[in-house]
């Protein structure tokens, strides 16, 4: 909200320097987003007449003028690059030494062989408008040499841009801002008391008001003003509206806007003669009703509690509190005005405004709650500003829906307990009464506080405590630090998740974060054709409208992003949730039953093959000290290579998948080479059994190695043989190491040779040849039972 300082001074004698006053606003929660000085920087700019214009030899974009600056001396030579000037024009001249509002200081300037003694100015250079196209043309009757500020009647002013919070409907007005700041500074605050000679016949003689929905329009007034002549507003009204960011239109519309800015009460003037039946009906909209608003748009209303303003013939002419209609708009031929000033139910206005996506200056104020008791002042202020026409002696006033503010009990002990202050009973009226609250003592430490009608936000004790705190000053509340009774720590899951990240970083994988929302086709492009992602309703960006069911598309996109920037050799992991529709048999109780499945996963996508992905898995297994990890070859995993992928089992529980991305998917993302993939359910991974914490004894006796080579059909996994060796080679086995894999002429087609080195050791003795021979035989038997043949 734009708040001119001169306007604030109508209500209280603010004499602080602008920046200091800005701090007062800040500390009251009316945050200053900008402070602009208006009309400053015009010292040294005077009215001058152009006497001649001539070219400057060697320059084709700048001409030399001579001007009369009214000083009675010789004409001044001034260079000028604008082309909208002719001899005889009266224009602003910035004399040498002037510093313009934009900070530019005018000096004596030499161009080729001429000297320029000042500058002719455009509106934008003077801070007087947006027009940068040419020199500002002034009234030719202005006396030359007059300071421009005097010639144009410009007063210096300061305009604050304040951000007003949603719980401060009172501060959505100049008067409200002034009231709050005056209270903080201990200055007297006075509202205007306009005197209006209401000598017209009662409003009821020319108009009627029927309020059929008092719940939506708890107070609704209409005032007849006859014989109005439409014309421009006085220049001071126009100037204030302009400073506050509104465009002056005519005296009626300007008066309405002025009152809204000053007092926060929106009003709506109707052309009474265009109003069928001369009356207003206020009622709920019927479903599907259409209103043509001032902007010429047909709007369908009636889906909820939309409140309509209709004429006496029941034709809708406006959406109450949100937008007026075109048919009864004030025009240059209007003579009789019916002024609506009302209090509409805030929640209803909020709903209508949201449903129609129509937010106006009026709706923004009504939905926060205007002052129902301030309507009379607003009407009087409107009439006095209008200064034209005859105001009806009485106003049509329906106020059956109105509730007075209820008193609130405020306990001083509670106040201090919540703030950490040592305030006394007397402090409550000291801080609350200047901002309109009425405080009545009930007993020691207990007072009854009635909020003013312009503070509908204050309904609870804590609302009052906040008001006291605001005016006491947040900075004055002593700072203390509560002592947590618990030891702060990460949960095991959180600590282990950090460990997972650190293992992956140590394994040479960079961490990525990709959007949880994907675009249409992203899942399919990653091969996830049956994922059925949950969609965002009404997403703003279609590329981010579907909840990911896997981290695969996002990570593939990251790989593609880097490949396109000549960084093809990257490896990324991401830890994050994926979202899926729950299985039909899912059992979740309570409100979470309404939510989809959300699981945290850790996935790795890397430029490389399944072997590289498997190595990353090994790092995790080792780093987390997992036991019982096995791989089971799998084909048909969506998006993954059918012959280079395995499920990861941790102690028998499925934890995810490791392998390679399907070459077709790799190509679909514009990538080249192989892409390794690891995708694990983080919770399953972190809950899996770990190696025991107790140390295992280390033998003091020498170990013995034996090498065994087996021939194994391709359709039996090497892991099966290794598992059989571990299980069957006896207690003396300490390690199994697959050190060679051979495929070729030396083994039958469809098989390969696997060479294992088995190490045996005993804790209590050196192994004998017989020990080793027995273990060897047991190992061979175990491998054979898994389908392997000892290679001779």
């Amino acid at each position: 909200m734009l708040v001119p300082l001169s306007w604030l001074r109508d209500f209280a004698p603010f004499d602080l320097e602008a920046r200091s006053l800005g701090l007062v606003f800040d500390n009251l929660g009316m945050v200053v987003e900008g402070i602009e000085s208006v009309g400053a920087g015009l010292d040294g700019v005077v009215v001058a007449r152009i006497l001649s214009i001539s070219p400057i030899s060697g320059l084709d974009r700048v001409r030399l003028t001579t001007v009369d600056d009214g000083s009675g001396g010789e004409p001044l030579e001034v260079a000028c690059g604008a082309w909208n000037i002719s001899v005889g024009d009266v224009v602003p001249l910035a004399t040498v030494g002037t510093t313009l509002p934009n900070g530019m200081t005018i000096g004596r300037r030499k161009l080729k062989k001429v000297v320029s003694n000042g500058m002719l100015c455009s509106a934008i250079e003077l801070g007087l408008g947006a027009d940068a196209d040419g020199i500002l043309q002034l009234d030719k009757s202005l006396p030359l040499g007059t300071p421009l500020r005097e010639a144009l009647g410009i007063e210096t002013d300061v305009v604050f841009d304040l951000a007003i919070e949603g719980n401060r409907p009172d501060a959505n007005s100049i008067a409200g801002v002034a009231r709050d700041a005056a209270a903080k500074l201990g200055l007297p605050f006075t509202l205007p008391s306009p005197v209006v000679d209401r000598k017209g016949p009662p409003s009821s003689s020319a108009a009627s008001v029927t309020v059929e929905a008092p719940d939506l329009a708890p107070r609704f007034t209409a005032t007849v003003i006859t014989g109005v002549s439409i014309g421009p507003s006085p220049s001071w009204v126009q100037r204030r509206l302009t400073l506050a960011g509104m465009r002056p239109i005519n005296n009626v519309v300007d008066a309405s806007n002025y009152v809204m800015l000053e007092l926060g009460q929106p009003t709506h003037p109707y052309d009474l003669d265009k109003l069928a039946g001369g009356g207003l009906r206020v009622r709920r909209a019927a479903p599907g009703e259409v209103v043509t608003t001032l902007d010429g748009v047909d709007r369908v209303v009636g889906e909820g509690d939309d409140c309509l303003i209709c004429d006496a013939a029941d034709h809708p002419i406006g959406i109450a509190g949100v937008f007026g209609g075109a048919s009864t708009e004030i025009s240059s031929s209007t003579t009789n005005v019916l002024l609506e000033a009302a209090y509409f139910a805030p929640m209803a206005i909020a709903r209508t405004s949201k449903r129609l996506r129509l937010r106006t200056e009026a709706s923004a104020r009504f939905e926060r709650g205007v002052d129902p008791a301030g309507i009379d002042l607003a009407v009087a202020r409107f009439c006095s500003l209008l200064g034209s026409g005859e105001v009806a002696s009485t106003t049509l006033d329906s106020h059956e829906g109105l509730q007075p503010p209820a008193p609130i009990t405020l306990r001083t002990a509670r106040l201090n307990a919540l703030l950490g202050t040592s305030l006394v009973d007397g402090d409550v009226p000291r801080y609350l009464e200047p901002i309109g609250f009425t405080v009545t003592p009930v007993s020691e430490g207990v007072q009854s506080v009635t909020p003013p009608t312009f503070r509908p936000d204050a309904t609870l004790e804590v609302d009052l405590i906040e008001e006291v705190a605001r005016h006491y000053g947040y900075a004055n509340i002593p700072r203390t630090v509560p002592h947590s009774p618990q030891v702060g720590r990460l949960s095991e899951y959180q600590a282990d998740r950090r460990l997972v990240r650190s293992i992956l970083v140590g394994a040479g994988v960079d961490e990525a974060q990709t959007p949880s929302l994907l675009g249409p086709g992203d899942h399919e492009r990653a091969g996830l054709v049956s994922s059925s992602p949950i969609a965002a309703a009404d997403a703003m960006i279609v590329e981010e409208s579907l909840l990911r069911t896997s981290l695969l598309p996002g990570l593939l996109r990251s790989l593609a992003f880097n490949a396109a920037r000549r960084s093809p050799d990257v490896a990324f992991f991401e830890v994050g949730p994926v979202f899926t529709r729950p299985a039909a048999d899912r059992v979740v109780e309570g409100p979470d039953a309404a939510l989809p499945d959300e699981r945290e996963r850790v996935s790795v996508a890397l430029a490389g093959d399944a072997v590289a992905a498997k190595h990353v898995l090994d790092e995790l297994v080792e780093g987390l000290r997992l036991v019982g990890v096995s791989l089971e070859a799998v084909s048909g995993e969506e998006g993954l290579h059918p012959a280079r992928t395995a499920r990861v089992k941790v102690s028998g529980t499925d934890a995810g998948v490791v392998g390679e991305v399907d070459p077709a998917v790799v190509a679909a993302w514009g990538l080249q080479g192989r892409v390794g993939w690891l995708d694990l359910h983080l919770q399953v991974l972190l809950r899996a059994p770990r190696k025991p914490l107790e140390q295992l004894p280390i033998s003091k006796f020498p170990s013995s190695d034996i090498d065994l080579a087996f021939v194994l059909p391709e359709d039996i996994a090497a892991g099966t043989v290794e598992a059989a060796l571990r299980a069957g080679a006896g207690d003396l086995l300490s390690s199994v190491d697959l050190f060679d894999v051979y495929r070729g002429d030396q083994v039958p087609p469809g098989t390969r040779s696997l060479a294992y080195r088995l190490r045996f050791v005993a804790l209590d003795r050196t192994l004998t040849d017989a020990d080793v021979a027995a273990a060897r035989a047991a190992a061979i038997t175990a491998a054979q039972s898994a389908g392997a043949t000892l290679r001779s």
């Binding site: 929660g29 919540l418 405590i465 947040y474 702060g488 960079d510 959007p515 965002a536 880097n562 990324f572």
Partner: protein, 345 residues
């Protein structure tokens, strides 16, 4: 037959031969010819037995002296030759370490993770636990339990992304991590000292200043006798611990439906250290987040008696911390995962 009188000659010949041996092999040959079984010296030694006792004693001493002198010369030459051979081997094994390319295998944590970890560590040090919850939430936990009923004007500032899931506008992507506060209050008896970091979502388009998906961290304290002064003191303690002892904080009134009194909190601009710069619009302060005393309605809705317990909550963006710390010009880089960016940190 060589005479014992030739011993000095033998010795000088041998010493010259030892000195002339250029390799260990040469030296071994020299050693064999002068000190070996077939050497003149060995022959002289053997023949001592045929001499008279007196001669045997005199010549025996001479032979032994010559032998030990020669042995010493050979040993000395051997260690010299060994040392130079070792030196030659090492020299041949030369490696120019600047030929080895800089190629660390180590990856990098995402900047938001780094910032989040640092923030978590500060609060853990202050006695807080870390609470988490789902990113897809119910309208109830994201809004209604936080004193934001349906059609409340405050909802318009949240740009909520609802999902086509369940009843219309019942399930959404959380707009803040406050629903985790609700979960903690629903499931834990006070006292509560917890932080809630996590990802949140707004219906918005990305630009240089913000992404519609970002991370924030909130804190919640519920205990007996918690005051606004405790809130201000906690913010100040955190600010100094996280940003450094020369950075302080200030609160100014604000409005949030779920806290009252509410405040925005600002910290000394970390770029200009309070002197005023473009980042802080010359004010010396930068806005960090929102905070306030938990609204009694929220406590009640979460099953906590506001007359017995009170508390405060605060929240701010994690991405913005990373932005300030690393002077990030365009926030979109946080979701691009550009290797040239990621590998800088």
């Amino acid at each position: 037959m060589t005479d014992y009188n030739a011993l000095p000659q033998i010795e000088s010949d041998a010493v010259a031969a030892v000195a002339a041996a250029a390799t260990l092999d040469d030296l071994r040959a020299v050693e064999a010819s002068f000190l070996g079984r077939e050497s003149v010296l060995a022959d002289l030694q053997k023949r001592l037995g045929s001499l008279s006792a007196e001669e045997r004693k005199a010549f025996g001493q001479q032979v032994n002296a010559t032998r030990s002198s020669l042995a010493a010369a050979v040993e000395s030459r051997r260690s010299a030759l060994e040392a130079s051979e070792r030196a030659a081997q090492l020299a041949a094994d030369r490696l120019d370490l600047t030929e080895v390319p800089y190629s660390p295998r180590r990856g990098h944590l995402h900047l938001v993770t780094q910032a989040r970890d640092r923030l978590e560590d500060v609060f853990v040090g202050m006695g807080y636990t870390v609470a988490e919850g789902p990113e897809v939430e119910t309208d109830w936990r994201n809004f209604q339990a936080l004193n934001i009923p349906l059609a409340h004007p405050a909802r318009s500032t949240h740009d909520t992304l609802y999902l086509d899931y369940g009843d219309p506008e019942s399930v959404l992507l959380r707009t803040h991590t406050s629903p985790v506060q609700v979960r903690v209050m629903e499931t834990h008896e006070p006292p509560i000292y917890s932080i809630m970091p996590g990802r949140v979502y707004r219906k918005d388009t990305p630009d240089a200043r913000h992404n519609p998906t970002f991370s924030q961290i909130e804190g919640l304290v519920i205990d007996r006798g918690i005051t606004f002064g405790d809130l201000a003191g906690t913010i100040e303690t955190f600010t100094r611990a996280y940003f450094g002892p020369d950075i302080s904080s200030r609160l100014r009134p604000a409005y949030f439906p779920f806290t009252e009194p509410s405040a925005e909190f600002e910290v000394t601009c970390v770029l200009c250290r309070g002197g005023g710069c473009r980042t802080c619009s010359q004010t010396g302060w930068i806005e960090l987040g929102g905070c306030g005393m938990v609204h009694p309605n929220v406590l009640r809705m979460c099953g906590i008696d506001p007359e017995e317990w009170s508390g405060f909550a605060f929240g701010f963006g994690i991405d913005r911390q990373a932005q300030m710390r690393h002077a990030i010009a365009d926030m979109r880089v946080l979701l691009d995962n550009d290797a040239r960016f990621v590998s800088q940190f």
